[in-house]
């Protein structure tokens, strides 16, 4: 890769202050954008073909173009509620380069004719929220935020809104409810936020990384940016690699890089003597891949074809020292805890999945329970207002599918330890009754 975009100068001391950021060419892209018409700026973003970096991978330019035209209150909400297990890329951007995000938001607001902006940052990110607040104050004092920014037609307000610890608030409609001061429950779609979002007004919601890339697209030009990466997955992406690797951390890669190069090259691979057993390519919501999939190109379409997803760009590596049942249990417990409880399939499905996994661990399960568990996953997918339930069902389903033998061996071993399970006292009807109920 020729040059870094998001991570260029990232460790420069004081980059989070306006002085250093401006000295490094900060807010030049905004000036360039404001000299163009909003339609031209939108065109650059569309030509860049950048896809959302938050998880769904929807084209950013298209999202902006869905906003209704005309004079009305329109909202931009930056989703900085980064809570997907394994993801910590936005944290680094928010902490070290908050002005890059603010500049990107100003560009997106200009392209979409937006006049009110909010940054919803997760409550746990205290340092990052402080840095962001300080950066906002600086930007306001310097005239980048307010009425008629730098003498242009762009006028907007921008505020930081701190959340209070709820994974579900990263889901866009739950985030809107939370921002309106309610419990974070997802909404029915349609209407989509572009038409009826925050306060029922037209709303653009983008991830931190997506918005922070906008200044670079403007600086380079959309066409140049589109030359980076792979077809259908343009540009660079921050990936967070964690778990069983020697050098966990955030790396900026060009999309389409072989996954093996990221896991072994950049992150150092698993500890000596161990090998990769399974990995989540895009946060814990992505169906797991195995060591046979390490040569897949890391981009949206390739991973989708392999039956998984790029998601938020968080690679969690698990080596052969860990039992897949433990991973499934951790995953399921997380979603059980974070399910908001609005939709029955998710609220009950996450709960029952944990209970069945606990039965596997305690030696009360039979291999047939695996089929029941897989059926529970199938009945969650597509049956809820949001994808939180799906986000548990997909990885758990993929683990059962790909590591069925290990699950079965675990069941047998646990049954052997459990004296009650191996005695012949339990009549066969009990098993059948359990299956029907």
């Amino acid at each position: 890769m020729s040059e870094l975009l998001l991570f260029k100068d990232i460790d420069e001391p004081g980059l989070h202050t306006l002085d250093v950021y401006a000295r490094r060419g900060g807010y030049e892209a905004l000036r360039k954008a404001l000299a163009m018409s909003p339609a031209e700026v939108l065109h650059e973003l569309e030509v860049s073909a950048i896809r959302g970096r938050g998880g769904a991978g929807f084209a950013m330019g298209k999202k902006i173009s869905f906003l209704p035209k005309g004079a009305m209150d329109k909202y931009l909400v930056c989703n900085a509620d980064e809570s997907e297990p394994g993801t910590f890329k936005d944290r680094e951007l928010l902490q070290k380069s908050p002005h890059m995000l603010i500049e990107g938001m100003l560009i997106a607001a200009y392209a979409g004719g937006i006049n009110r902006a909010f940054i919803y940052i997760r409550g746990e990110y205290e340092l990052q929220a402080q840095r962001l607040e300080a950066a906002l104050d600086e930007a306001k004092a310097a005239g980048y935020i307010g009425d008629r920014v730098l003498g242009s037609d762009l006028s907007l307000t921008m505020w930081v809104h701190r959340g209070a610890g709820a994974y579900i608030c990263g889901e866009e409609t739950a985030l809107l409810d939370s921002l309106e001061g309610k419990r974070g429950n997802p909404r029915l779609k349609p209407p989509f936020p572009a038409n009826q979002g925050l306060y029922q007004g037209p709303t653009l919601i983008n991830n931190v990384e997506t918005l922070a890339t906008a200044p670079h697209i403007l600086r380079m030009g959309g066409e140049e940016y589109a030359k980076l990466g792979a077809p259908g997955s343009t540009g660079t992406k921050l990936v967070s690699v964690s778990g069983h690797v020697k050098r966990p951390g955030n790396f900026e890669i060009e999309l389409g890089m072989p996954s093996r190069e990221i896991i072994y090259g950049l992150a150092g691979g698993p500890p000596d003597g161990r090998e990769v057993k399974l990995w989540f390519p895009g946060g814990s919501s992505a169906p797991v891949l195995t060591k046979d999939d390490l040569d897949l190109a890391y981009d949206f379409d390739t991973l989708a074809k392999a039956g998984s997803m790029l998601g938020s760009g968080a690679i969690i590596v698990i080596d052969d020292s860990t039992s897949v049942v433990d991973v499934a249990m951790k995953t399921a417990k997380f979603y059980r805890h974070e399910s908001c409880g609005k939709c029955t399939p998710c609220r009950e499905g996450t709960n029952w999945t944990v209970k069945m996994l606990e039965r596997i661990d305690s030696g009360e399960a039979t291999p047939m329970d695996l089929d029941i568990m897989a059926a529970v996953q199938e009945n969650i997918i597509g049956n809820c207002l949001c994808v939180l339930g799906d986000a548990m069902a997909m990885p758990i389903g993929s683990m059962i599918l790909k590591f069925r033998e290990e699950f079965e061996a675990h069941i047998e071993a646990a049954r052997a330890r459990n004296e009650l399970a191996t005695t012949e006292e339990a009549p066969p009807e009990a098993v059948i009754q359990g299956a029907v109920a």
């Binding site: 701190r162 001061g181 790396f251």
Partner: protein, 210 residues
């Protein structure tokens, strides 16, 4: 196989699920928006909440920031604090409690002064977070000053296993370092200063050279 009802564990109120031990008083009216004339609110807190309300087209949006401000002041969401926020925001206390009980960072019961949130999600647990949490629990659970909790992914898997201590991310922490960390917390000092997130460099090798 018939279920033996006497062997099913039950709560004091007879149900298998936790809940209220006493029935709700159906004759009681719901709590109303507190009367400003009879609800004194500390001036600082009122000013903070009013400045939050001014940021949004709908004042209700300030609920979470207002609850944060109140909790920072009182340590947890006290009934009196809820009354004060409700009074300034012109909302019912019941509404605020429904919001506060949804979010993990609001405490509707008294908690210790120092927050120690240990991440026990997948990435951290792969690197020993469960042992770390057990160590924190062992050395600090009987100290009323500490609010030790297992938390879902805190977004710092690159420093796993880690904890958010009074809002500051620290990691990686070894279980044998826990007593020292807790001593520093009790003294109000920064534990393991060289392993604070604030001072961590980027892992990307090219970020360092550029």
């Amino acid at each position: 196989m018939a279920i033996d009802p006497t062997r099913v564990p039950r709560f004091g109120h007879g149900s298998r699920v936790p809940g209220w031990d006493e029935a709700a008083d159906l004759a009681k009216d719901p709590e109303e928006v507190p009367d400003p004339a009879t609800t004194p609110v500390p001036e600082e807190l009122r000013a903070a909440i009013e400045s939050y309300m001014a940021r949004y087209p709908d004042r209700r949006s300030a609920t979470i920031p207002a609850l944060h401000a109140m909790q920072d002041r009182y340590g947890w969401c006290t009934p009196q604090g809820i009354q004060e926020v409700a009074c300034v925001m012109r909302l019912t206390p019941g509404y605020l409690i429904s919001v506060a009980s949804f979010y993990d960072m609001f405490f509707t019961q008294p908690v210790g002064r120092h927050d120690v949130f240990v991440c026990t999600n997948i990435s951290c647990s792969l690197r020993g977070a469960d042992e770390l949490f057990a160590a924190f629990h062992e050395h600090g659970s009987d100290d009323p000053e500490l609010n030790i909790r297992a938390f879902e992914c805190l977004g710092a898997c690159d420093m796993a296993p880690m904890a958010s201590i009074d809002g500051k991310y620290v990691g990686p922490i070894r279980p044998d370092e826990v007593p020292g960390v807790l001593d520093a917390v009790r003294r109000g000092e920064e534990p393991l200063p060289d392993r604070q997130l604030e001072r961590m460099k980027s892992a990307d090798p090219r970020a360092a050279s550029s």
